[in-house]
């Protein structure tokens, strides 16, 4: 079947033959490989995307179920070549090491700040509880987002 949906603000479609995750379709069929596959079970958040306004793990979304939906991936989180606030803050704070978790964190944090421009540190951490980072120990990530929220930490 053909699934039609909106991807990063543009119309998109995918050919879905067997039960396949949206993550696989994004990466292998559509060629947007910014969302990462690291656990296949929604336990790491590295495939975080926005689906109809909610941040979810793309590996847990069945591609066939996104007919008419709006999907935003890390590639669509900022426009053109400009970094958005979250990305710029993370860059400045040294919050990227290997970077594998970074797209998922960018998507999740962008969603948080869109709803709430001044989240508390506790709210930042709660929002990112589903995004695993193995390299940074989260310190620089928290510093980046604290500063974006207007706090020095």
């Amino acid at each position: 079947m053909i699934v039609n949906f909106t991807l990063n603000g543009e119309p998109a479609n995918a050919r879905v033959v067997s039960p396949v995750s949206l993550l696989d379709v994004l990466r292998d069929q559509i060629g947007l490989r910014g969302s990462k596959s690291a656990c296949e079970q929604g336990e790491c958040g590295s495939c975080s995307i926005v689906l109809d306004g909610d941040v979810v793990c793309a590996c847990l979304v069945m591609a066939g179920d996104v007919e008419g939906s709006e999907v935003t991936t890390v590639e669509g989180i900022s426009s053109g070549d400009v970094l958005n606030g979250v990305q710029a803050a993370m860059h400045e704070a040294g919050a990227v090491q290997c970077g594998f978790c970074t797209p998922g964190i960018v998507v999740t944090a962008t969603d948080l700040f869109a709803a709430n421009p001044h989240p508390s540190t506790g709210e930042i951490k709660s929002a990112l509880a589903g995004n695993i980072c193995r390299c940074t120990g989260y310190g620089a990530i928290v510093r980046a987002l604290d500063s974006l929220a207007g706090r020095r930490s």
Binding site: S18, R27, D28, L32, R33, G34, S35, K36, S37, A38, C39, E40, Q41, E43, C44, S46, T73, V74, E75, S78, L83, Q87, M90, H91, E92, G94, V96, Q97, C98, G99, F100, C101, T102, P103, V106, T121, G122, K125, S126, L128, A129, G130, N131, I132, C133, R134, C135, T136, G137, Y138, G139, A140, I141, V142
Partner: protein, 737 residues
């Protein structure tokens, strides 16, 4: 031997001491950075692996027909299809590329498949019909020791072996099997070149050694294989050994098509080596002032089915079994066993982590026996520059600020009693304030930097001046630690030119940079870069009779005499192979100049414990670390915070549960990595003392954060509960029952 030449003091933007932004930061933030798992090649097939479900079995027969019968399958290969050396291995080639007559660990590769797509390849791999005759697996390392089924035995004897002390503390300690669990999975693409050769792009920590093993097993000439550095999603030791590299090249050459393979998480757990689990016994004897008179230790680490780096890990464990303390009567016996448990190898800390759990528990026991402050007992025994290492007798010649580490930790303020953040149990609401006790614990650790025991370690780097600025070429692997940034900083500071980038080139274009491990790259590849850049500057200035070099070009008396555009048009390049001061193999008592350099770090952990339920919240970890010179202070802090959290993970939540040789929790649901809600606040003090042979006096910083952070958390839990915690990780039942 090459020495670091003195360099002119140059302040250039983005040089050493600055914290310039990562060159790959923007693409990573935008999701446009290619990791090995993101690579695609025109016409590529997908590979998958058939793995043994048994920890030990005889392979009676392999029937590939059912797999070949699946539409879209291009190849199914077994051991018979390996044209060259049948085994591979980082230190000792003993692991079959594909299993022959016997499988020796759960998950051992038996066959590999190439097919049109990932799904088909996996189905085909599952369809290969293997008939096994199950055999009784050897899973008890102590039994393996009794049977002499071992990879290495170590014996260290230093000083008078009859020395005894009036104060004696003893204990048995255990460390479970931790996994590196880098977020990026094993992945790669092998592209045949049409002339019998192949280009390999795969997750790695050491492309030259991958290259060697691929060449050997494929029976090719070295120039027929090129191993390329690619984007890596973390390593922590899991990528030092070959895993899918030979498989990919085999499939590519067999099918004549590019082949890609990406491990799923459970396969990743099965498919790479893990941290060695350890069982240890220590006896510390001291005088009435708490000075160590004698330390005796026995260490058994389980190497699992194949050798990997067990010999070296055991070496490290034994060499660091006393810790950063003086002692003139030392006896350490160690064994690295061979069993049918999953193979173990390099993980950040490499043997020094495990023994630290033991010796730091012992130092605390000593303190309690003498009613001494735990830091004071450590102060009284602290090693210093000029002292011999207690185990090897090697005189320490570079700075080793053990006392400074202790004093710094003592001076760091403790957090307030309450803390906004996680209580034990977190959002699980298990715990009210009245159920919580707070504990504080200290631990010190020592780690070698670089390779040891006479290993001829080196790194080659090339520095070129081009129209785009300075280019540093290296085969050294960037795994996220920031090497690509640091090498550019070194080149900038040495040459005085601010435009600089690092290019990662393949094995055909440069000699080995050695492994990205052992906390060595900044010192060794950095050393090569510094020497090459320094030498280049000298030659440029000599040739053009200049007295300075800048972005504008060659300067003389403050004026530009050769503009950069012209200079860059001349072919300026310098290639250097850097070697650190040599080490020696140990003698039969483990004595010798075994290590290239050392670093010490200390940790203080503050924990809140719900003792009735055995739940722990790590509130804060403070650290002081001996870094020589912080070339990129922010990146050093990043390494420290990341390493500490891995140490916290080992203390309270990370363990591969193995029974009958089978990993019971090979997934992220049940192998628990710390989340952001589990991360303690971290305060880090960098202790910079000149004197190391690394560039600008830098020491490696990657491993020291993992050595004693686990032990500090354990000590804090003991302080909070009064319980005799003797293993890592601590489980709720270890505290509550």
């Amino acid at each position: 031997m090459t020495t670091t030449r003195s360099t002119p003091h140059l302040t250039v933007e983005g040089g050493v001491g600055d914290s310039p932004l990562r060159p790959d930061g923007v693409p990573k933030l935008r999701g446009r950075f290619d990791y090995a798992s993101d690579l695609v090649s025109e016409g590529m097939l997908w590979g998958a692996t058939t793995r043994s479900p048994h920890a030990r079995a005889r392979v009676v027969s392999i029937d590939v027909a059912p797999a070949l019968a699946i539409g879209g399958v291009h190849a199914v290969l077994t051991a018979d299809d390996v044209p060259g050396r049948a085994v591979f291995g980082l230190e000792h080639p003993d692991q079959p590329v594909l299993a022959g007559e016997e499988v020796r660990f759960w998950g051992e590769p038996v066959a590999v498949v190439a097919a049109e797509d990932d799904d088909t390849a996996r189905r085909a791999a599952a369809a290969v019909l293997v008939e096994y005759e199950r055999l009784e697996p050897l899973v008890d390392p102590e039994e393996a020791d009794r049977r002499d089924d071992v990879f290495r035995r170590m014996r260290i004897r230093r000083g008078d072996q009859e020395t005894r002390g009036p104060i004696v503390v003893e204990g048995h300690y255990e460390v479970g099997m931790q996994d590196q669990a880098p977020l990026g999975p094993e992945a790669g693409v092998a592209v045949p070149d049409g002339h019998g050769g192949v280009d390999l792009y795969a997750t790695s920590q050491f492309v030259h050694v991958d290259h060697e093993q691929v060449v050997a097993s494929l029976g090719l000439r070295p120039e027929q294989v090129r191993a390329h550095p690619t984007g890596i999603g973390g390593a922590f030791g899991a990528r030092e050994d070959v895993n899918l590299h030979i498989h990919l090249c085999l499939l590519a050459l067999h099918t004549g098509r590019p082949v890609k393979m990406v491990y799923h998480r459970s396969e990743s757990f099965a498919g790479h080596v893990h941290r060695h689990p350890a069982r240890m016994w220590f006896r510390h004897e001291a005088d009435h002032d708490g000075r160590l008179l004698r330390v005796e230790a026995r260490v058994i680490i389980d190497g699992g089915a194949y050798a990997s780096t067990t010999a070296a890990v055991l070496g490290n464990a034994c060499y660091f079994a006393v810790g950063p303390y003086r002692c003139d009567s030392v006896s350490v016996d160690g064994v690295g066993t061979r069993t049918n448990n999953p193979p173990c190898g390099a993980m950040r800390g490499f043997g020094a982590v495990q023994v630290c759990v033991g010796y730091e528990a012992q130092m605390d026991k000593l303190a309690r026996a003498l009613d001494l402050d735990p830091l004071e007992v450590r102060r009284r025994n602290a090693l210093a520059t000029g002292d011999p290492m207690p185990t090897t007798g090697q005189v320490i010649t570079t700075p080793l600020p053990v006392v400074d580490v202790i004093d710094s930790l003592a001076a760091m303020p403790l957090p307030d009693a309450g803390r906004s953040g996680s209580v034990p149990g977190g959002s699980g609401l298990t715990t009210d304030p009245e159920h919580v006790t707070r504990g504080v614990g200290y631990a010190l650790g020592i780690k070698n930097l670089g390779f040891s025991e006479g290993f001829d370690d080196s790194a080659q780097a090339r520095v070129r001046l081009t129209a785009e600025g300075l280019v540093v070429e290296t085969a050294a692997i960037e795994v996220g630690q920031g090497l690509a940034t640091v090498l550019a900083q070194i080149a900038r500071s040495a040459l005085g030119v601010s435009k600089a980038e690092v290019r990662h080139v393949d094995t055909s274009q440069i000699d080995s940079a050695g492994s990205t491990s052992a906390s060595r790259q900044t010192q060794v590849s950095g050393g090569a870069t510094l020497e090459a850049a320094t030498s280049l500057r000298e030659r440029i200035l000599d040739t053009h009779r200049g007295d300075d070099l800048s972005d504008e070009g060659v300067m003389r008396d403050g004026r530009v005499v050769v503009p950069m555009a012209v200079l860059a048009g001349e072919s300026w390049e310098e290639t250097v192979t850097f070697r650190h001061p040599p080490t020696t193999a140990p003698d039969e008592n483990g004595q010798g100049v075994v290590h290239a350099d050392f670093a010490v770090a200390g940790h203080r952990a503050v924990v809140d414990v719900d003792a009735e339920l055995g739940l722990v919240s790590v509130v804060k970890v403070d650290t002081a670390q001996d870094v020589g010179k912080a070339l990129h202070p922010e990146a050093v802090r990043g390494q420290i915070e990341g390493g500490i959290l891995q140490g916290v993970g080992l203390a309270i939540m990370e363990e591969l549960v193995i029974s009958d040789g089978v990993i019971r929790n090979p997934n992220f649901t049940d192998y628990l990595l710390p989340t952001i809600l589990d991360a303690p606040d971290v305060e880090a003090l960098l202790i910079e003392q000149e004197g190391s042979w690394g560039p600008f006096g830098a020491k490696g910083v990657g491993e020291p954060p993992t050595i004693s952070s686990t032990s500090a958390v354990l000590a804090a839990i003991r302080d909070a509960t009064g319980k005799d915690i003797d293993r890592a990780p601590v489980r709720p039942q270890d505290i509550a029952l």
